[in-house]
Every structure is written in structure tokens, then in C-alpha cells.
Subunit: 142 residues, 2 copies
């Protein structure tokens, strides 16, 4: 293979079993293609929480996201895989696409569903949005 | 790896450069995971063609589909990969899902866009539909 099309893999995590499964598939590809792996957790800022609670809520999400990333990094480290991690804030699919572009990822691997809010369910799943608008390939894990 | 999650791969072809790219990615996974590959071409029957032309049109599509499958099979064969092929008729995403289920596929690899008709563009792309409703993982190649 002169060019490796699975060289740089981005895995968005949200703490759900679906993103856990996506991480497992990513590990298999990393082992087969000697890929680089990047993990991202996005603190969703568009959730309607009133202003008084908002700060506390976002702080909780940041803590949660950091734990998710730390746990995943340890899981990969035990397999001898080193991962770069990002904690971002904003719109989930936008932040995923931004990092994918900035880091020149070849592939995004994500779960089919996640810990969706009602508004997200109504708007369509994040994986659906990312797979339509991302400029790199997307593996939706079921 | 005790269980291979890329064991059986289905690649829907439509003669577009996008499905050609999907086939290339499939080859890379087949070589890495020693997967089985299945190719499918679906003659779309829902295209509005008047009854007089319809028979001739479908006959053309069948011929086109058979050529696409034959060419892809030869391409794979040159890499030492053996592929099972299916020519089906009906609704494209339905037929893809039916074969994926019947053949117990782990993964469907498809191009992001294809030789879409106007009605298909309005309804959303086939890959979009398949990735939402399929019970197995879907890799959308860009």
C-alpha cells in the first residue's frame, strides 16, 4: 500500500456504549494500519439551560468529558496505542468537523446513536450530520 | 483479535467514481482483515419511465449492472481477491439492506454520492438512507 487511507482516525466520544464500540473498531484499524488516533469530547453548548444553572451544568460536562477522554486514553495506552485528545465546546458536529479538518484526518469513526438530547433527536443524529457534511470518510458503527 | 468485525464486507456499486473509491477502501480492509467481499448492483425500478420505454430501459440497466460487477470482479481477482456478486432489482437501499442481512455482513462500504436521479437527490442520498436504517456498520467513503 503506497498510501494509507486509514492513517489518521478521529473518534468523537460522548460516554455512551455506542462511542465505546466505535473506539473498539478504531483500535482494530489502528492495529491493522498503524494509524494515528485522535479522541474528542465536545461540551454541547446549545442545550437550553437557564442562565443561573448554565455555568454549573457546563462545568459538570467539562469534568465528565475529561474523565471520558482520560479513561479512553488509558484503555488505548494498555494496548500500546498513544492518543491525542481534545476537549472542545460548542456545537458537536461543527467541532468534530473542525478538528477533522485541522488535523487532516482520513476517517471519523462514530457510534450510530449517543447520549442524545431531545432536540438532537429531532434534528437528526450527530453521526448523520457529520457523515453528510464532513469532507473525510465516516464509519458509522452499529 | 478473537472476533473479526470486518469479516464480511458488502460494497454496493453504481458505476460512479464514488463507488469505485469505496471498492478501493474495501480492498484495503480485505487485505488487512482477510475479509470476504460481496458486490451488489441494484437496478432501480422506481424511476419514472413510461411503460413503452420501461422494458428497454431496465434491460439497459441490467446490462450496465452486469458489466460493472464483471469489471469489479476482475479488478479484485487481479489482487487475488475472490468476490461474490449480486444483481438485484427494486429499491436500491432496500435491496442493499436485504443482502446485508441475508449474507450476515459486518460492514457496508459505499460512496458518498452516486449516479443519483433528481428524485434521489430530493429524497436524500442512498448512503444516507442505508447508514440510518442498516443494522450493520456503514463506512461512507468521501
Amino acid at each position: 500500500m503506497t498510501k494509507n487511507n486509514f492513517q489518521k482516525i478521529l473518534v468523537p466520544l460522548d460516554g455512551s456504549k455506542y462511542s465505546e464500540k466505535a473506539l473498539d473498531r478504531a483500535c482494530e484499524l489502528v492495529e491493522a494500519f498503524d494509524s494515528t488516533i485522535i479522541l474528542i469530547y465536545v461540551v454541547e453548548k446549545s442545550i437550553p439551560v437557564n442562565l443561573l444553572d448554565r455555568k454549573e451544568y457546563l462545568e459538570l460536562l467539562r469534568k465528565f468529558g475529561n474523565n471520558i477522554l482520560k479513561r479512553a486514553k488509558t484503555k488505548l495506552s494498555n494496548k500500546g496505542i498513544n492518543a491525542k485528545t481534545f476537549l472542545k465546546e460548542g456545537n458537536i458536529s461543527n467541532e468534530i468537523e473542525k478538528i477533522a479538518k485541522k488535523e487532516n484526518c482520513n476517517l471519523i469513526i462514530m457510534g450510530n446513536k449517543g447520549l442524545g438530547t431531545v432536540s438532537r433527536l429531532l434534528l437528526g443524529s450527530v453521526s448523520n450530520k457529520v457523515s453528510q457534511s464532513s469532507s473525510c470518510s465516516v464509519l458509522i458503527v452499529k
